[in-house]
Amino acid sequence: MQKQNNLLWVEKYRPKKIDDITGNDEAKALFLEWLKNKRHTKKAVLLYGSPGVGKTTLVLAASRELGFSVIEMNASDTRSEKAINAVAKPATSYKALDNFTENAKASGNVLFLDEVDGIAGNEDRGGVNAILKVIEESLVPIIMAANDPDIEKLRPLKKVCLLVRFQQVRIPLIIALLQKICMLEHVSAEFEALERIAQNSKGDVRSAINDLQSLSEENHSLTLQDTMLLTSRNKDISMDETLKRYFSAQNIAETSTMLAFSSVDYDDFLLSVGDNLPKRYPDAFELAKAYDYVSQADMFRGRIGTENWHLLKYFYNALTKASAVNPQSYKPFPFITPPIRIITLFWTKSKRNTLDAICGKIGAQCHVSHKTAKHDFIPYIRAILQKKPKSPLVGWFKFTPEEVDFLSKMSRF
């Protein structure tokens, strides 16, 4: 969605040269030494450290300067072993081709797996192993990046990689960078304001630049007063934390700043807000009002679909309004997560499958769709079978004993 806006300062000022990257000079040196000289002795490198400190930027800048083509893959996009193999295998075998072309400038390919800690979830059994296998079989050097290096599942990776640790970028360095951007963007900023943004960023350069842009872009000036809108930034805000701040917000401005920077998935967040709304507003009138806003947000989500991301701000606006129906009434309460829908649908899947099979059999005999079978036949057939379990209908429809059992135990719609 950010691609929509080319004027994002994080993109505009993303360093193209290695030297321009702020902070982590020591990690930069270690990585460059590997890429220039040691990539043949150790095939893979793992850059780790908190978000927004320049890992991806370094990889892109370094490969540009040293003439590598980067084959990039975001591990959290396509995670299964199959997907990793599909992308990583062809990439790793390009080397043979490059040797033929003898391109003097090109140093060859590197494979870049970003966010490898994204593969550590339960659904990714095989993900880490697949990466290990790729490293083992790869003909080209492999660069990986991770936000959280302590995840147990990544341990096998640590053994086969050169580890490069990225530190949080220091506050003076961030201030210095913000000063530079202010100069280039003609923003007159109070030193204290930049100081506060930097302190608030907790070493995350990306978020500091985003904050600067959102606070100063409109009128090209920035005072300490302006930065009071910033809520304290925490690395990796969890869904619980986001919900807590959302529901306890005192006004719309507070919520909207918080949401603009939270990294939780907005679809999950929308569902979770819906799930938890009744606990937040026990009063029926307030609940109806808040739900009306959430319903509007959902309509915007529907219109956004997969491409109209420019509508996202309306989606957030509507959600924000739902948080501030009655700020005074907030009392802490335990949150329902994950979404009720997901839990419900998971537990009832086999029921639905049985029902579907039954509808299919009715449809075949009576020339109707599954839907019509469900609405116009199931209620009656169920009643008949509950009265007469041995009805000849069972044979006619070719119901299995399990299906008969299901129908006779089934409750009314």
Binding site: G23, N24, D25, E26, A27, L30, L163, V164, R165, Q167, Q168, R170, I171, P172, L173, I175, A176, Q179, K180, M183, F191, Q199, G203
Partner: protein
């Protein structure tokens, strides 16, 4: 007392073999000719500082290097030391004078 060291070259009293190996393992380099240690890998920098403190029997801090004026300076006197996740570790930074002094900033900018 706090001992301030420059990460590009510092001396230790003679240590036993085991300790020496562990220092090298932690990412130090040793130059036989000058007898100076320097820091090669910063991955385990906290442990390097702990070990150095052990050896020297005192608190150890390293000098920082200013990216604007190029001078070395200690963290002492920095306004952000309480919030810093890497205080006293030998990384590049911006010294307090350069941060506030507008002239330094402008000369620095001309380098781009």
């Amino acid at each position: 007392m706090t001992i301030v060291l420059n990460c590009k070259g510092f001396k230790f009293p003679r240590v036993d073999r085991e300790k020496f190996v562990s220092l090298i393992h932690l990412g130090l380099d040793y130059d036989r000719n000058t007898g100076l240690f320097s820091i090669k890998s910063y991955n385990n920098i906290e442990k390097v500082i702990d070990t150095a403190s052990d050896i020297l029997g005192d608190e150890v801090v390293f000098l920082q290097n200013c990216i604007r004026c190029g001078k070395d300076f200690p963290c002492r006197g920095c306004n952000y030391i309480e919030l810093c996740a890497t205080k006293n570790l030998p990384f590049s930074c911006v010294c307090p004078q350069c941060l506030i002094d507008r002239k330094n900033f402008e000369t620095y900018l001309t380098k781009f």
